[in-house]
Amino acid sequence: MRDVYKAFGTKEVLKGFTLEVYEGETLSIIGQSGAGKSVALKHIVGLLQPDRGEILVDGERVADLAREALYRLRRKAGYVFQFAALFDSMTIEENVAMGLRRMSEMTADEIHGRVEECLRLVELEGYGARYPAELSGGEKKRAGLARAIATKPKYLLYDEPTTGLDPVTTAVIDRLVIRMAEELGVTGVVITHDMDSAYRVSDRIAMLYDGRVRFLGTPDEVRASGDPVVKAFIEGRPELLEAVS
């Protein structure tokens, strides 16, 4: 993403946001609620269009892509939504199969097999016949992850995968994020404000502040950072921000 600007009405959310994600890495974007993390993520798959600047995925400018080309790009990227965004009227199996039905030439049996495989991967074996309303928050997030990985994407985008979860379930989700990177070799972008989670899963961490990247580095570099904005966030000390503003 290069010099991206995005405003909603008079509210400027991204103000020159620039960030490069390397192939095979897991990069977390941290920042306060409302900082524009999810907005930045949605630009990557063309769910939002920038007012200015450009987003390049595999060398293609996302904003310039026609609908069919955009769908081809989306086939390479799995998106895990903050609240899972599972289709209420469908079973978990149908949810996970949605992308496969659209994006592959697989037979019904092959799709069923792949769905089972994905549910096993996210530790939801035997949940296929249930409806989203019958799942807990953590199970819904894992089902959302199963749906995102079903088509074997090259990229996985996670929008606050651990928000609102208990520490044990958070650790389970983190383990899955790491597993996706190590076993499936996917490039991941994780939006989070959970620092423990960010340290665990990330190769690099970017701090989003005031519409642009304030700091970018490895988890160790983030821990050692003397930047008051970074320290305020990771240590939960808002008084440090007062000095900045």
Partner: protein, 260 residues
Amino acid sequence: MRFSVLDPVRALGHTVVTGVSAVGRMGYLAAGAVRALRQVDIWGGLLLGQMARIGVESVPIALFIATFTGIVLALQSSYTFTGAIPLYFVGTLVGKTMILELGPVLTGLALSGRVGANIAAELGTMRVTEQVDALETLAYDPVAYLVVPRILAGALMFPMVVILADAVGVLAGWGTSLYLLDMSSPEFLKGLRLFFRPYDVTFGAIKSLSFGLTVTGIGCFFGFSATGGAEGVGRATTRAVVVSSMILLVLDAFWAAVLL
């Protein structure tokens, strides 16, 4: 708070801009829906389900309304005609009014509540819970997946439901004439046939087709435009019903002026 003389002008300007913007976005959605018709692989498998939900499941409420409308029409026309006009005109009035006006309009208004509200609430919830975005990320065109099958189902099923309601309304009027008005069947049927033209049914069907397009289209539009959680979905649902009911009445007058 201080009042400025420019406040009413600003408010008027805001209303005009909002209205024009909404019409523009409706046009954009309509154009998207026409374009999405090509994606039969997406909407084809969903059409029958929507026809059942929008049409078949609306039959009970439509028939309930038609039955009582037919009864009231027969009773009121008899009350009006007695002593002045031959009673077989009760059949004329019940038939003409049901088929030309009350069948399509009352069914349309009832379905704008049942179908329009249902569509706006469902799509609105999908919008605010990011299910519409999820469809996009799974390479489904949300307009092809959500809007096209609903609008097509509305256009196909509204006329069928209305024709059924017309028939039941006339039957209810006939039954009322027989059992409450001391009329005979030949009398009622004489009146019914007197000014009946098959074109009347065509007129009602055309009108109800336009109502079907309106109710489902407006429901989809406000559902897709919903923002801000449960309150936003509630607001979208209310607007869908109010706006589609108003457009429906305007269309009613339009078709009467153009086709009769």
